[in-house]
Symmetry: D2
Subunit: 292 residues, 4 copies
């Protein structure tokens, strides 16, 4: 188990017109991710609606008025990982996939898998099925994409990234998801923050990674390779970034660079490990069927 | 109330390799659409899984073997319509939208509203908000698109349709949805069959239309203008055609033209009307809040 | 006649690997643009090839080595304008267009007129033909596009600009050209610098404008509306920016902001006017047939 | 030398409105392609303009009236080939390319090489330069594309083909050209008809192939692999299909399937060979510099 304590601060300056926000910056409630404590504060005295969707994603909605708005959140979470042997993880035949998993085979806004079937079949169609094929897709994404800010924007999709060959973690994730779905492997987009991000890439930031459904569970992949998967805290899971953006904003405003901190609390006596790179397959998902 | 009796038959010839199917061709269970009777038959003796998602959409999944496969479905449904005065229907501020409605503000695979914000703001940004603005969007779509088969394909999106200027009901629906979302009006894609389709367009076929969220409810729009909205039977609702395709097929096969029949059963004594074009706003959705 | 004196300076820092450059920054030789004097200097002692293409565009090619490279050019040019009454300018039937003009009806990299035929026909197909229709296209471009740096990049095309709704003079020009060609009006891309640019947009910069073929001649249009057409100095004309980029560079390097100066030399005694906005149609093209 | 005799017939039915045509269906005049005899007939008594552009492409323009229009052309041509050893052909440094060749480094409508630089660099950047790298690009195109009618249309570009993975000879050519230019190898589009086309693909049709500039000359490549390069008769060369379409049509009409015939006249006594597949590099271009 790992214990992570983190905080984040989002700051905006709203102009003449009010702005609507939908935030997805709280740790998700999942069977594997337990929130020990959390604290949320908003500097404007506006009404605020909280809701949780069927996937356990937590959203907070508010309408901010002219002036400064700061949202602060801090939490401590315990994350338990399923650790499996990669070579035992199978791609399930479509006929055996749980119904809830099927939508993650379909194309979505930033993962145009329908337009990439032929491309993906040529690259990955002949590989043996299973975890190793997903790793091959991840390797391909890394060989095609350079990590670089300022090349992509919020409208950038997998098709765009194939051409541009560069982007940030979100773009790596979208491309990997599109390729998985294009060869009929369910894949979804997960957002959060993570411990252990490569300091060469700047201060701790939000992170996007990929979950792929194999055997009876969603397994974690970090296509941009910039973090330690054991150190991920999940905020939201969805089809792509359209579902779980950390802040969806309606209206014009000025926004400042988010400030994030995260630390791992290791204590072997309590069974609390430091996040580390591991060769096994990791999942933070309860799974389906009898697996757990 | 209208009562509609319909049947459909889908036929395929599967080759050497089995094919997985996900069908969405059964009448949805909704508060306004009651199924009086239905019958489903499948000509191959294969296991078949049925499931219903959170929106009430019904899916049937099966893996078909080599040879012919025919799926037949027939049902009689009663549909009750909310009928409202258009000029009383408002666009809700984002802050007041029900949480379940928010995902229908986001871009999706075939409705790239994020890439069309500027375009839509120029066309529709200055219009008074409400039902009349949605009608203006529908008129614009009709002025831009010609109904024509063979121009579009299953990968065609709203951005493509703007260029091509022609397509089928699915393309009209995607374009209208993208434009609505681009000006922050929630809109979703609905599939089904309908009574009263223009016979000039050929035999009865599946139909796609649009629902727009106004005041406290989803209202029906038929951007292709090829049918009578009162005569719609709903199979599925979702973000776009990726969610509620009548048949999602994994594998190669030969498919035949679907055969559909539909008739209206009118009986004024029982309060059963013929579907007809009406100037009011129509909804077959239970609505949110105190509205019903 | 206007007399313009200008200078420009382009500076680069080349790294370990040599870089090839193709510059198009010298005043073009055309019947209406006479070069009174010019001076060109290059700070690296490398061989340099000069050539002029069939359109009178002048190119300079060189391979620069590691270190700094500065290219300076200054010239004084006299420009004579054909001034015509807009209402007498016709769109020629295709059958009567000079052969040299036909390629400017075809789609090009950044002006995908083939994909925009339907769109353009809906917007402009019903308008009376002639100069006024071209003005209508120009007005439409201005109503759709906001002048803004940093939104577009060198790969941005007319199709992209329709979505983005913002860009620089190059993007305005590409969009106007695409729309003209889409309704069968020959249009080409012209680059240069100009006197009288709006100082609110920053220091003098390169400029891109549009020439449209009407009656027997190419007429000037400035879709971004940021300059005074009488003050344009032509460097190159082509299908789009792929043909007459001011610098096409092969290799990696650091480039600095170009420094440009331009002044008008007015002397009524010599018949030298100040550039000014004029309501008539302007051309700096010798024309075809008996027109001159 | 090969001698080819061919004929073609294009038939159209024009409706109420006249249609403008620009045909490019006559054998080009080039130093290596000599026209022994030719005959052209047009069934409508309309004026017809012939012109030849700087590349030797021959165009014929006419405006056809209501009713049937048939264009028949037949010719006998002698084609002489430069035959070179592939391993002696070099990619020239940009600094040494003839000025006339430079435009074929630039992106064009259907060959978006600017958007594919990163992609191409990853696929082909590390390969040794020269003829073998061009062959590697051709092999890659063949491994990515399936020959199939009805998948692409006249607006299909190289970017589209990467996704679709299927198309006709025109699409194969555009993709190969885009990839060559993206790694700074000049490449152009050539249209014509050819002897020896694979009969499995249907009756003799127009053909599109690629010429790549190596050492001092343009060399022939047939990326679709459906014909015998020695049996090509050249109609036109340009940046892509926008320049040398066999018929550019302005207006609505009905067109019929073209009828083409071609035969090779072999006579060893006269030095006339049968076209055959050869392992050497072939060119039908006079070349630049001292090479010839």
């Amino acid at each position: 188990m790992v214990r992570l304590r983190f905080s984040l601060e989002l700051a905006y300056q709203i102009g003449e017109w009010p702005c609507d926000f939908i935030f997805n910056v709280q740790a998700a409630h999942t069977p594997c991710q337990r929130i020990l404590n959390e604290r949320l504060s908003i500097t404007q005295p506006v009404p605020c609606t909280h809701y949780t969707d069927v996937s356990g994603n937590r959203f907070m909605r508010l309408r901010a008025e002219r002036g400064a708005l700061t949202v602060r959140y801090e939490a401590t979470v315990d994350i338990r990982h399923y650790v499996d042997q990669p070579d035992q993880l199978m791609e399930l035949p479509i006929a055996q996939l749980p119904a809830e998993v099927l939508p993650f085979l379909y194309p979505s806004r930033y993962c145009e898998s329908d337009a990439l079937h032929v491309f993906a079949a040529r690259e990955f169609g002949a590989l043996p099925k299973g975890y190793s094929r997903v790793l091959a897709i991840q390797r391909w994404v890394r060989s095609r994409m350079t990590f670089k800010s300022g090349v992509s924007n919020p409208n950038t999709s997998a098709l765009n990234s194939i051409q541009q060959g560069a982007g940030v973690c979100r773009d790596f994730a979208h491309l990997m998801i599109a390729m998985c779905r294009a060869v009929n492997i369910p894949a979804r987009f997960t957002s959060g923050i993570d411990y252990g991000a490569d300091p060469a890439l700047g201060p701790t930031d939000f992170h996007a990674y990929v979950e792929v459904f194999l055997s009876h569970r969603w397994y974690l992949f970090d296509p941009s390779g910039t973090a330690i998967p054991m150190g991920f805290v999940r905020f939201g899971s969805g089809r792509d970034a359209a579902d779980v953006s950390f802040a969806t904003i309606f209206g014009g405003l000025q926004s400042f660079v988010p400030v994030l901190h995260i630390e791992a609390i290791a204590d072997p006596a309590q069974g609390l490990d430091m996040p580390r790179h591991r060769p096994e397959a990791l999942s933070t998902d309860a799974g389906f069927g009898s697996a757990v």
